[in-house]
Amino acid sequence: MVSFITRIGANSIRFVRQTGEIFIMLGKTARYAGQIWRTRKLIVEQLMEIGVKSIPLVIFVGLFAGAVASVQTAYQLKGFVSYNYLGAATSVAIFIELGPVLTALVAAGRIGASIAAELGTMRVTEQIDALEALAIDPIRYLALPRILSGFIMIPLLTVIADFVGIMGAYGVAYLNLDLPSEIFFGSVKDFFTIMNVMSGIIKAFVFGGVTAIVGCYVGFSTEGGAEGVGQATIRAFVLSAALILLNDYILSVILF
């Protein structure tokens, strides 16, 4: 019993410590906001790595998520509500939930884990120590470009996912239900509000930042050799995914 309580205590202290360390890292990164121009080359590299290279995956996930949303919604509407509202129902779900959350979860797997693995390998091979020894702050050199790119690129990827998702939903509506494009997109337009899109983009902004920050934090705090890097990769994905879902709930409560 005592050991159980000790374990809870130790885990609670570790949670508080790690949360504090993540905010300290975020604060230190924000301090370098004035050096974005100086770091532009690294930032562009990360915008490519985090954003552009994720486009094919985001298109794939967005297309099928939209298609599945359309099938499920049609099933629920059947016999109760006209299919004329299918476009509105699926587009709202895509804008406020499916687009940002699925994009962020894909990003957590592809980007968060790869940041943690890359920085973790740099940590265990003393490359991060080498940066410090060369009087270069790893926070500016490594964390700033990745975190900034996370904040910028996940919302942009979400916009792509939204667009592709709606096209996927329309594809299913057209092929399965023979729904004309005027009716499908007409209902999308009738129920479209800028707030729906903005709320999804605000969510994506937070999720992108969370994914990159967690990846950087876990990478920087990696210990041990190859095994440590493997564990860091898993930890980054699990932690990012959990925080994305937690933040999704909090933001949904705040925004709606």
Binding site: T125, Q127, D129, A130, E132, A133, A135, I136, D137
Partner: protein, 252 residues
């Protein structure tokens, strides 16, 4: 000059340094010897504040390195070159990008001037013309020499070597030793070398100190090292199995 005063460091329950006192004069080639895991690399990392002591302090040119702000710390670190045990080259960069990184970050040199400096340092470490190679294409000895070229690119006042010959064949190790002496003489730098390679010690050291059980137990010249009455030092220097140093049984 570097002054290390009463330095203590523990990692969890493992006490590594328990009161190290050491002065390093300008221009000196100091070699720190000791068994694997005795804290030599930990001591070296404290000198440039990569690790922070639990107790005690280090003065670099009379400045307490732990007390300074980040700007001053980076200014002090630019006075140092650090050769890491595994060279710690950035594997996403070419050799030239690795070596020129400090120039890109800390100077306003043109690309042409940087290329010239990189070529000059590569020449100095005996590896001309390998600018475009990636670290994955280099042998262990070449990596160490590229690491050294990077460490001296800002013409530092101090060079710290962490196990520079470990894992190298004897000829490559001898080349690295020769390079350490040559850099020390040509660039007039202060060199601090951490090693347990006694052949290297004989070739490189002006003065040798031995770290054992977290403290400095010996300080003297290489010739004194061979005639010392200290049983621990004697056993280590002569690589004897019998003596006061015994491997601890491993706990499983």
């Amino acid at each position: 000059m570097i002054e290390i005063n009463d330095l203590h460091k523990s990692f969890g329950s493992k006490v590594v340094l328990r009161g190290v006192n050491l002065n390093i004069e300008n221009g000196e080639r100091l070699v720190i010897i000791g068994r694997s895991g005795c804290g030599k690399s930990v001591l070296l990392k404290h000198i440039i504040n990569l690790l922070q002591p639990d107790k005690g302090y280090i003065l670099v040119d009379e400045i307490a390195i732990r007390k300074v702000g980040q700007k001053d710390l980076f200014f002090l670190r630019k006075q140092f070159g650090f050769l890491f045990q595994g060279a710690a080259l950035f594997d996403s960069m070419t050799v030239a990008e690795n070596i020129s990184l400090p120039l890109v970050e800390h100077t306003n040199l043109s690309q042409g001037e940087m290329d010239r400096k990189v070529a000059e340092k590569l020449d100095l470490v005996g590896l001309p013309g390998i600018e475009k190679l990636k670290p994955s294409e280099l042998s262990g000895g070449m990596k160490k020499r590229v690491g050294l070229a990077r460490a001296i690119i800002l013409d530092p006042k101090y060079i710290l070597y962490d196990e520079p010959t470990t894992g190298l064949d004897p000829i490559m190790a001898a080349n690295i030793d020769k390079l350490i002496v040559r850099l020390s003489e040509q660039l007039k730098v202060t060199s601090i070398v951490v090693t347990h390679d006694m052949q290297s010690v004989e070739k490189v050291a002006d003065r040798v100190v031995m770290l054992h059980n977290g403290i400095i137990i010996y300080s003297g010249t290489v010739s004194d090292l061979k005639t010392t009455n200290n049983e621990v030092v004697h056993q280590f220097v002569n690589a004897e199995a019998e003596g006061p140093i015994q491997p601890k049984p491993h706990k499983y």
